[in-house]
């Protein structure tokens, strides 16, 4: 049986030379910033606010709601289902389309954020490090999933699927590889964006227990 090697991941936040004071400028930024920036602004809150239920929406939605004070745009942006996007370019286009169509429908909307509340585009440099934790069976995995850091859980569930473009999370890929396709599918269809990281950890653990 192939072993599962757990990794950890840590981010350095990089400032980009792009900021927005209104929806039009936000669109311009969304269309032009690197993929790492789109990923950062749609995922940062998951780790930063991992203890909150419900987790706050993505940065774009949060800014539209609180700084532009625009409930309509804010709601539309917070309703974007990230699970439906298989890649960052696809996700970028979905977000851009929401803002584009909003700007088009509201040509006279000149709403600007107050000074000091501009949207600053950022990105991350992510460092991925091997941990000494290695699972050689589902039983071991079931124990290890409780021990790993939230950064490690996040890496295998979020980074692997979208940022690294592996198509599915690392856990499902491993379950499939060790002949547990049903478990793989169940973990793959969990929506990690709808629960806290601790909640997600508990859901994975419960599923694995059923197939041990």
């Amino acid at each position: 049986m192939n072993a599962f090697h757990f990794y950890s991941r840590l981010d350095l936040t990089i400032l980009l030379d792009e900021h927005a004071t209104d929806a039009k400028q936000l669109l311009k930024g969304i269309e032009s910033v690197p993929d790492a920036s789109i990923y950062f602004h749609t995922h940062k809150y998951l780790l930063q606010y991992h203890y909150l239920i419900p987790v706050p929406p993505n940065d774009f939605a949060n800014w539209a709601l609180t700084s532009l004070n625009d409930d309509v745009l804010g709601e539309q942006l917070s309703s974007i289902d990230i699970m439906q996007s298989g890649s960052i370019p696809e996700l970028r286009e979905r977000i851009a389309e929401v803002v584009r169509s909003y700007v088009k429908k509201n040509p006279r909307n000149k709403r600007e954020c107050p000074p000091g509340e501009e949207f600053y585009f950022m990105a991350t440099q992510t460092v991925i490090l091997p941990t000494p934790i290695v699972s050689r069976s589902l039983e071991e995995f079931s124990n290890h999933i409780e021990q790993i850091s939230l950064h490690s859980l996040y890496y295998h569930m979020f980074d692997s699927r979208l940022r690294l473009g592996r198509g599915e999370n690392d856990f499902s890929a491993w379950f499939r590889g060790i002949g547990k396709p049903e478990l793989a599918d169940k973990v793959r269809t969990l929506d990690p964006y709808l629960s806290t990281l601790e909640g997600l950890r508990a859901q994975i653990k419960a599923l694995v227990k059923k197939y041990e």
Partner: protein
């Protein structure tokens, strides 16, 4: 000096372990911090705590201080004020003297593999780079969101010579062809200002200051200057007081460069004389313990700043699980997400309204405080600061978006 393992019960074993994993990747690299003073000020405070912790991680980390005379520091004081947006006049002769002092210091230093320069005073040491190589980082600890153009343009010539620059908030940076990194400051949960205190200790401090804890206490800890808006705080308190019994505590130092400072302090005193429930405390700089107790014993903590560098008093209060109402300026929105981990306001009226709501809804207020503490635990403690510095050092050697070890 604290041991790194003492932080494990606070941030978790995994966080400490991650620091060791990162530090291992920097094995063999020497790291030199350079600033302008070994005591006093935020930079010296953080380096005093951080260098021993970096050493515990097995890193060859050290800290050097540049030497300058009174004339040099008079010029750098102007730089400091200029970065803060205060119009200043610096003569060519003063610029020349600044460079001369930097060059003299550069000749004396034995530079490490990574040279981490803090604030404007030693910024021109980087002139040495073409002849000695090394990796150079400059960190600006100052709110430079509206700098004096002449000062910024002088300093920018040197910023551009670094491998990376670091700012505390996005608004403090400006477009330039050098990698710019966001690293927020942090608080130390084991320091005198933030360590746990017993309820009895907190009560004793309140009694010493004559504050009645059987009634709600709304507190702002800040210097008495215009930008911290103590008069706005008093106005908000007066509006809220119409419907809720409460006391207002304004505590902080009086030392300030703000020319309007003395006038504002006079007005605050006048207001306090008219209302026995406004308690004004002028605290000396060595009052970390008292500030800790005041924050812990308050019902609500305010930080109604009109402009703010980073506003670490917000992190301090949130760490103590307090509901915080703060102005949405500077680094405060990085610390508070409105209605999740605290309250962001833009006016006296808004602040008053939220004071009333939080006093009326203690369960919601407690949830804000609980979330706020978790947010600080994850994002604004010294362990996160160390992690960011280690990543920053690594980024000098690895440039890809994703670095897979």
């Amino acid at each position: 000096m604290n041991n790194l393992q003492e932080y494990a019960p606070i941030v978790g074993e995994a966080t400490i372990y991650d620091l060791f994993l990162l530090a291992k990747r920097l094995e063999g690299k020497s790291i030199q911090n350079i600033n302008s003073t070994s005591v006093g000020g935020g930079v010296a405070e953080i380096l005093t705590r951080m260098i021993p912790l970096l050493k515990q991680l097995g890193l060859d980390a050290r800290w050097d201080v540049i030497k300058g005379n009174e004339k040099f520091y008079a010029v750098t004081k102007k730089f400091h004020n200029g970065l803060h947006g205060v119009p200043v006049e610096v003569t060519d002769e003063e610029f020349d003297w600044f460079l001369e002092v930097n060059r003299a210091n550069a000749e004396e230093f034995n530079f490490a593999d990574i040279v981490f320069v803090h604030d404007p005073q030693p910024i021109a040491l980087v002139e040495k780079r073409p002849s000695i190589g090394k990796n150079w980082i400059w960190r600006c600890h100052i709110d430079s969101s509206q700098p004096d153009k002449k000062i910024w343009s002088f300093l920018e010539r040197y910023m551009r010579k670094y491998d990376a620059t670091v700012f505390s908030a996005p608004a403090f940076a400006a477009p330039m062809p050098v990698r710019q990194v966001l690293i927020s400051p942090s608080i130390d949960p084991l320091s005198e200002k933030n360590r746990d205190l017993t309820e009895t200790t907190v009560q004793e401090v309140f009694e010493r200051f004559g504050i009645d804890r059987s009634r709600p206490v709304v507190t702002q800890i800040s210097r008495f200057d215009f930008l911290k808006d103590p008069l706005g705080v008093i106005k908000a308190y007066k509006i809220a007081k119409k419907s809720h019994d409460m006391q207002l505590v304004l505590a902080g130092g009086g030392a300030t460069d703000d020319p309007e400072g003395p006038m504002i302090m006079e007005q605050v005193k006048e207001e306090a004389d008219k209302d026995k429930d406004i308690i004004v405390l002028f605290l000396p700089p060595s009052s970390d313990f008292e500030i800790n107790a005041l924050q812990r014993g308050s019902t609500i903590v305010l930080q109604k700043s009109l402009r703010e560098g980073f506003g670490l008093t917000v992190a301090e209060a949130l760490w103590k699980g307090k509901p915080v109402i703060a102005g949405a300026v500077g680094g405060i929105p990085l610390q508070i997400t409105h209605q999740h981990s605290g309250i962001l306001t833009h006016s006296v009226e808004g602040t008053a309204q939220w004071i009333k709501r939080l006093l009326n809804e203690p369960t919601f207020a407690a949830t804000l405080g609980k979330n706020g503490r978790e947010h600080i635990r994850n994002n604004f403690l010294i362990t996160r600061h160390i992690k960011d510095y280690l990543l920053l050092f690594l980024s000098l050697y690895y440039r890809d978006d994703v670095v897979h070890f």
